[in-house]
Structure formats: structure tokens, C-alpha cells
């Protein structure tokens, strides 16, 4: 399952986001965040069910402060959708699968 979700870091972020052929949904998360853990399986499902449409990537805010600060992440989980390298949509807080799919509809 984890194969459907990639991991981004401060060093790999720019290259991966700019080089992506499909929209990338970045999940800003951390180990100590309960709601982040709760949406992890939901994101796995969305990634599996929409192959080739959207790429889902995780970025650990605890280990990657530079990118977290650049996008002024002050609450997790924060999901930011990047298309052509630019942020298009920002979702703050954990949500159920139905609501997430609704928010992402335009990109799927």
C-alpha cells in the first residue's frame, strides 16, 4: 500500500513537485498528530483508487521545517495540492473520505 504514497523532504521537494506530471497532494503531517494518523488510510485509498490522476506525497513537518515554513503550515494535517508546481488548493484539518473527494473533485 505504501507504494502509492511517496515521501518528500526539504531537499527533494522542489524537484519532485516541479517534475510531477499529475497534480501532487502533499500531506503535511507528524508522528504525534492523531488526526494525521486517522487520515493516512483515507489518503492511501484515494491514491489507490485514482492511479495516474493524482500523486499523494507525505512531508513530515517535524523533520522538514524549511518547506513547512515556506508554506506557512501552522496546523496539521494540512493538505496542499500542487499543479504545475503551484499550490492550487489548501485543506486544513482531518476530513472524512467523502468530504476529501468532494474537495479534490476538480483534480481527479
Amino acid at each position: 500500500m505504501a507504494g502509492n504514497i511517496s515521501t518528500l523532504t526539504d531537499t527533494s521537494f522542489d524537484e519532485e513537485i516541479k517534475g510531477a506530471e499529475v497534480p501532487v497532494l502533499v500531506d503535511f503531517w507528524a508522528e504525534w498528530c492523531g488526526p494525521c494518523k486517522m487520515i493516512a488510510p483515507v489518503l492511501e485509498e484515494i491514491a489507490t483508487e485514482h492511479p495516474g490522476k493524482i500523486q499523494i506525497a507525505k512531508l513530515n513537518v517535524d523533520e522538514n521545517l524549511e518547506i513547512s515554513r515556506r508554506f506557512e503550515v501552522m496546523s496539521i494535517p494540512t493538505l496542499i495540492l500542487f499543479k504545475d508546481g503551484e499550490p492550487q488548493l489548501r485543506l486544513i484539518g482531518a476530513k472524512g473520505k467523502g468530504q476529501l473527494l468532494q474537495e479534490l473533485e476538480a483534480f481527479l
Binding site: 498528530c33 488526526p35 486517522m38 506557512e72 501552522m74 496546523s75 484539518g93 482531518a94 468530504q99
Partner: protein, 329 residues
């Protein structure tokens, strides 16, 4: 569409009350289905309010305390071990006017011979326009999630109960200073939490004070305050705002069907968990604004399962052969 299966028991909600009811109902052979809710960053999520807390020190049986999310994961695993089923969805509509009772998740209809309502309560917010605008940009509903982002900053916690002081104390791990803003002159919180907060050099208190606005362009830069005794207005520069001013029961779903008090809490009969609708039972914070503890919620969840079991047995409605609880230990 095929007729939905009728469950003996559907439990709505999965905090300490709902999951304890699930453990007891599963052990009584009632094959419970738990509609556990959906992920969120508020307390309205599977596992309930404890999912947003850190250490729970007063739950009996854990000498050194236990982390809230870990405790709830254990409750859930225990219910699953005895065969409880789970749906990570939210009930969107109920009809308790006829039996079997009808429940909906969007367009999917479920039927149940008995229902246990354990939807709990959610945290109240200040209800200021700028509070929702800056949600996630300094205003937070989850101290354990977001405290990290306020390392070395000054923040404010609004409220005077145990939750407020727990958050304030937790947040001093990150923040340089935490100001607790309370509208009265004394705290509602338990003595041990008060002592801990008063001893903490990073915590300051502002008494008789309410927050009237949240300031900030893209992120929180401060809050507007009013002293309710002398009417004096002031501003406090903070980077973060955490609100813990109380709770409101999650009972919108049951309006017009289940009797509730003026404040929305469900009314149960006498010492039981029975509601005004025969076969519908309520437990946990959704029917308790007095004690509101994990242990009291769990206790009432156990009562609800026993009440449901006895009611199903008396009416002869249960599909399964009921194993009576006391014999089942």
C-alpha cells in the same frame, strides 16, 4: 435495492461510551454495528474527545497514566475482538418513529431493532468571524497537533476548566508564554490541574476577561479583550489561540425525535439509559453535562448495552440468542 439487514444493535458514536457499549453488546451476542464517525481535527471524530488529549491520568487501571488515543485504540480493539463491526462514517438521518428503527448514511439505509446513541459532545468555539477565518493560521482546535508550530511564541488559551488548563500546561512545552483567559475570577478546573498551572512559570492568568476579536491579516497576530467587570478593552499580542470554553452535545440528528433539555442534552429516564423512545438508549456525554469523564461515559455505555440487551430480550425482538451479561463474565 435489497432490503437492508436488521441489526440487533446499532451504536452511533465511538468514544468511551459507544465502545464500552460495543464491548458489552458484542459479548452478549448482539452483533453490534458501530457507526464510529469520520476523521476531523475537532473532538467530533472516531474515538471522541480523548483523541485530542495527551496523557490521561485519572482513568482507573493505568497507574502511570495512558495516552488518550492509545486508550481509545485499545477500547476499539477490545470491541473488535468480541466481534463488533465498524463503519467509519457518519449517520446523516434517523427515523425512530417505527420499528425496526431506520438510520441513513447519506443514501444508504440501515435498520436496527435497538439503537444506542453515544454521539458525545464537541468543543464550543468563540463564534467570532475572524476566528473561523484564521482557523489553521494560529487558531487551533487541536493543541496536540499544532502546539509544535508555536515554539518560542506567545499564545493564549481561553477557558477555565480542566481542558483549558491541560492545553495550557501542554502548550508550555513549546510556547514561551501561555496566557489563560477566563471570564470569571476563579477556575472550574480540578485542584490538581489548578496547582500544576499556578506553579508553571510560563502560564499567566487574565481574570474576568473575554475575547472579543481575533486579529491578524494572514496569521494570528493578537486578540482583543474586554474586562467584564470594568468594561476596559485591551489587546494582547499572541501568535496562537486555543479555545477550551466548554462543550455542546451532538444531538442535532435527533431533534424532534428524542427528548432533550433546553441545552440540547438528551434526557434519560431515572437511573437508566432509556430515552423517550422505547428501544433507543443514550449514554456518555450526549446525556451528561455534569460529570463528563471518560470513566463515567464508559460506565454509562455499559449500562446502555445492558439496558438494550434486556429490552431486546423482554420484547423477544433479538435475532441472536442473548447471553445475559452477568453470566458472561
Amino acid at each position: 435495492m435489497s432490503k437492508p439487514l436488521v441489526r440487533d444493535v446499532i451504536i452511533i458514536g465511538s468514544g468511551p461510551a459507544g465502545l464500552t457499549a460495543a464491548i458489552y453488546a458484542a459479548r452478549a451476542n448482539l452483533d453490534p454495528l458501530v457507526i464510529e464517525g469520520e476523521p476531523s481535527s475537532s473532538s467530533d471524530q472516531p474515538g471522541g474527545q480523548l483523541m485530542l488529549t495527551t496523557e490521561v491520568e485519572n482513568y482507573p487501571g493505568f497507574i502511570e497514566g495512558v495516552m488518550g488515543p492509545e486508550l481509545m485504540a485499545n477500547f476499539r480493539a477490545q470491541a473488535a475482538r468480541f466481534g463488533a463491526d465498524f463503519l467509519t462514517r457518519k449517520i446523516t438521518k434517523v427515523d425512530f418513529s417505527e420499528r425496526p428503527f431506520r438510520l441513513w448514511i447519506e443514501d444508504t439505509e440501515l435498520h436496527a431493532r435497538s439503537v444506542i446513541v453515544s454521539t458525545g459532545a464537541r468543543s464550543l468555539m468563540l463564534d467570532l468571524p475572524n476566528e473561523s477565518r484564521l482557523m489553521g493560521y494560529g487558531v487551533s482546535t487541536c493543541a496536540t497537533c499544532d502546539g509544535f508550530f508555536f515554539r518560542g511564541r506567545e499564545i493564549a488559551v481561553v477557558g477555565g476548566g480542566d481542558s483549558a488548563l491541560e492545553e495550557a500546561t501542554f502548550l508550555t512545552k513549546f510556547a514561551q508564554k501561555v496566557t489563560v483567559i477566563h471570564r470569571r475570577k476563579e477556575l472550574r478546573a480540578s485542584k490538581i490541574m489548578q496547582d500544576r498551572a499556578f506553579r508553571n512559570p510560563k502560564i499567566e492568568f487574565l481574570w474576568d476577561t473575554v475575547v472579543t476579536d481575533v486579529l491578524g491579516d494572514t496569521t494570528v497576530s493578537g486578540i482583543k479583550l474586554r474586562n467584564i467587570v470594568n468594561g476596559e478593552e485591551s489587546e494582547l499580542a499572541v501568535a496562537g489561540l486555543f479555545v477550551a470554553i466548554g462543550h455542546v452535545p451532538n444531538t442535532d440528528l435527533f431533534k424532534g425525535q428524542l427528548d432533550m433539555e433546553d441545552n440540547g442534552y438528551l434526557i434519560t429516564q431515572g437511573k437508566s439509559t432509556r430515552t423517550n423512545v422505547e428501544g433507543v438508549f443514550a449514554c456518555g456525554d450526549v446525556q451528561d453535562h455534569t460529570y463528563r469523564q471518560a470513566i463515567t461515559a464508559a460506565g454509562s455505555g455499559c449500562m446502555a448495552a445492558i439496558d438494550a440487551e434486556r429490552w431486546l430480550e423482554a420484547t423477544g425482538e433479538a435475532e441472536h440468542e442473548i447471553m445475559e451479561t452477568p453470566r458472561n463474565w
